[in-house]
Amino acid sequence: MNGDIILEMKGITKEFPGVKALDNVTFQVKKGEIHALVGENGAGKSTLMKVLSGVYPYGTYNGDIIINGKVQTFKTIKDSEKARVAIIYQELALIKEMSICENIFLGNEKNKNGIINWDISFSETTKILKEVKMNANPSTKILNLGVGEQQLVEIAKAIAKNADILILDEPTAALTETEADNLLNILKELKAKGVTCIYISHRLKELFQIADRMTILRDGKTVCTEERKDLTEDKLIAKMVGRELTQIYPKKQRTAQEVVFEVKNWTVYDPSIDEKVNHNINFVAKKGEILGIAGLMGAGRTELAMSIFGVWGRITSGEIFLNGKKLKLKGAKDAISAGISLLSEDRKRYGLVLNQDIKSNISLSSLEKISKFYVINKNEEIKSSNEYSKSLKIKTPSIEQKVCNLSGGNQQKVVIAKWLMTKPKVLILDEPTRGIDVGAKFEIYNIMNELVDNGVCVIMISSDLPEILGMSDRILVMHEGVFNKELLREEATQEKIMYYATGGV
């Protein structure tokens, strides 16, 4: 690797009304390296990258961006693309109804005099798809691709722009381990071809797999830039949060009590095709335990949770018992009033009304409870949401703040608060810490422990194996729609879970 500095950001300061998001940040990237940018949510990583890519135009921030020794003044994303910087956002920016080919050349259509040459477009797409090891027809629509493949199309799109500097913001957040590994390999190949990568991720393990150097941000300031070999996970976490986390998983010793929740002969069909996603499932959850549900993505865990909660599109068969009583749930409303709550895996899509304030989001599922003769007691609403906001330590100046202005961890806490306000007996958490920084994760784990102590039965679905091992008392491993194995916490290891999750017997 040659040691040339390809990109330098000097003294970057960016202010939003009331907040200094970036405070004199310095950031240097060498040519051809994979440079990880790490920090908790809200540390300023995404803001820094938006400054670099021209989303925040020149003049709205202080400081200099220097690429290949030249000071850059990006006014739009187009300008940064001209300087061969390409960014892939956390949320995929593909157009679902368009084909792979159309998406890859969106905005840079291969045209002559305004008429698109589809032959060239298709052949180029095929070539680029090969580079990202994707075996798909360029005319396939995006909506027919899995999340992992969509992520690859995003990378292909960046390659099509001949980017020298590729910025990836949480590219693996929604991917399975295999998909993520595949993506990391592609990045390594790109690096071999001389592409420089700036890589943002909360998955520390990945960073140590591929990063050459890491820059750590905390509270909008640069903490340091280090070679990977000089860092360990513990050191990195300590630098990110500014304190030593003694234990990532605050596991408590508990003894499970009586069975509270029981699911019998549960069968779920796919909503679009006539295929079973869950077949004849039986399980129990006990008071005073956290039941972990592990498995690969697509194993049918989310479908199980959604169907129990009554929001799965298709007819299901089977029985649910709560405290020995059989439940008939026709929809989320029935489930909630019976005492079952579901924190869904995608908080922005299924959990929050982003343009409303914290208060309205917290009270959304409990409005009837705080109403008398169909009239909401607004003072009660403010009081309760304030209490939950404080006890869950949601970081905000007021509960009137719109949810879209909060960081991921705080947004997740708002969703948790919404469900706590319904006073659930059984709380199903589907990927409760996805895309959330270490500090907020720790707080959410503590909330889970507290709930269990208060007699709530917690069921946690997670793809994060250390999390499953660290928090669950009992682990059910799902493979292709059925529970393949039940493991007690003492006997469970990552290897065992993976073995059963991939179909071992």
Binding site: G331, A332, I336, L342, V353, E368, I376, N379
Partner: protein
């Protein structure tokens, strides 16, 4: 000390404007339009008679805008309200003129028909998942045909007097039945200070009239006073309740100032009508419906669920909201509101015509949007839409007073709509 107090006062004003920036800009815009027309029409525009008329003209659109706001907030749209209002007006006219039906059963039947149209829309939108745009576009076309069928292409009228009263008559005056003439002194006062001041001073003993009787509508005055008293009562009650819950409240002197200022605004609004012919029944209806719908949208689970559905339907569903049932209720409410608007409009015209209700849907949607309702759903207030309806009516009224060519009237109205949305987006970016 004095200075510090003043600073505190200004920061309070600043804060309350900032918090209600959307509504403040709307009110300022409305007042600006009024001011411009006042000068352009040589002060005819601002006279109580004209403003009274203006309120009355805006009634139909204001009623429709109440319902339309909720529909837009839930992320939907109703293009059929114009045709359906015309259709229901035609039914009412047929019932009264051809079948000699009394007024109250006619109105009830009209509302039931409106509700049934709502069920029809709700069925297709909520249960068959057909976009409301298409369902109501179909109704817009179909009901225009139904009007022709019912009226046979003829204008049907006149209506019974009691029916006509809804859109044309005023609260009766109990004591003073004649409109007295001003004496010389009274005329001088009126010329320098205007009708409203003259009226108020005469109530408190000013003798400006030849007959010694002040020209005001006493029932309307009593109504206005009760209204203001209730307003003050509820403000105080709200404050006490907040104190009981241990929330922050405004310092007492600011609170009093706020209540006094708002009471004065309400009093001014009513004075315009008290010193003309009295409060029209249609305006009473609009006031009642505005309060009711504001309450529904802010203080009931139903209203809040609509905001959630418009903001994020999937999250709303997973939060236990029965979307189908909510949408069904929403369209039934919209149908009933359309019926009420149809009744008011027919009563004002004193007849049903084949073209009745044309473009009402666009005016109602424009009023809601000018008032800050988002076409994307999840955002909007009833109060804003009422202001929007007033803006639309003021433009119509003012430009007619100026005798402006209809060509320009349409062009200007269209541009104002665009301008309003642009101003909305620009202020939101800043806030």
């Amino acid at each position: 000390m004095e200075n510090e107090k003043e600073n505190k006062f200004f920061s309070f004003i600043q804060k309350s404007i900032k918090e209600n920036i959307r509504q403040s800009t709307m009110i300022i815009a409305l007042l600006a339009i009024w001011l411009i027309f006042t000068f352009l029409t040589n002060f005819i525009f601002i006279s109580p008679r004209n403003l009274s008329n203006l309120f009355l003209q805006s009634a139909t659109i204001a009623i429709l805008a109440c319902g339309m706001t909720l529909v837009l907030v839930a992320g939907h749209l109703d293009l059929s309200v114009g045709s359906v209002a015309g259709f229901i007006g035609a039914i009412a006219a047929v019932l009264q003129v051809k079948l000699n039906m009394p007024t109250i059963p006619t109105i009830l039947l009209a509302m039931i028909v409106g509700g049934m149209v709502g069920v029809w829309h709700g069925y297709w939108v909520a249960h068959k998942q057909i976009p409301a745009f298409i369902v109501t576009l179909a109704s817009m076309i179909a009901f225009r045909g139904a009007i022709l069928g019912i009226t046979g292409g003829q204008t049907i009228g006149p209506m019974k007097d009691s029916f006509k009263a809804i859109g044309q008559d005023y609260l009766p005056s109990f004591l003073y039945r004649i409109t007295p003439k001003l004496d010389q002194f009274g005329n001088a006062i009126k010329d320098s200070y205007g009708d409203v001041v003259t009226g108020w001073v005469s109530i408190f003993g000013g003798k400006f009239y030849e007959t010694n009787q002040p020209p005001f509508n006493d029932i309307s005055l009593i109504f206005a006073l009760i209204f203001i008293a209730l307003f003050i009562f509820f403000q105080i009650k709200k404050r006490q309740s907040r104190i009981k819950y241990g929330f922050k409240v405004l310092p007492l002197n600011f609170e009093i100032l706020k209540i006094v200022l708002l009471s004065v605004v309400i009093a001014l609004f009513f004075s315009i009508m008290i010193f003309d012919k009295g409060i029209p029944y249609a305006i009473l209806l609009v006031i009642g419906l505005t309060l009711l719908f504001s309450f529904i949208s802010n203080n009931t689970p139903f209203g809040r669920h609509l905001y959630a559905i418009g903001g994020n339907a999937e999250a709303a569903k997973l939060s236990g909201i029965n979307i189908k049932q909510r949408l069904m209720s929403l369209f039934v409410i919209m149908g009933v509101m359309t019926a009420i608007a149809g009744v008011v409009f027919t009563s004002r015209l004193n007849a049903a015509t084949t073209s009745a209700g044309q473009n009402f849907e666009l005016d109602a949607i424009a009023a809601a949007i000018i008032g800050g309702t988002s076409t994307m759903g999840g955002v909007g207030t009833i109060f804003g839409s009422i202001i929007g309806a007033l803006v639309m009516a003021s433009l119509d009224n003012g430009m007619s007073l100026m005798n402006l060519d209809v060509t320009y009237q349409y062009i200007i109205k269209g541009l104002i709509l665009l301008l309003a949305v642009w101003a909305d987006i620009a202020t939101r970016k800043k806030a």
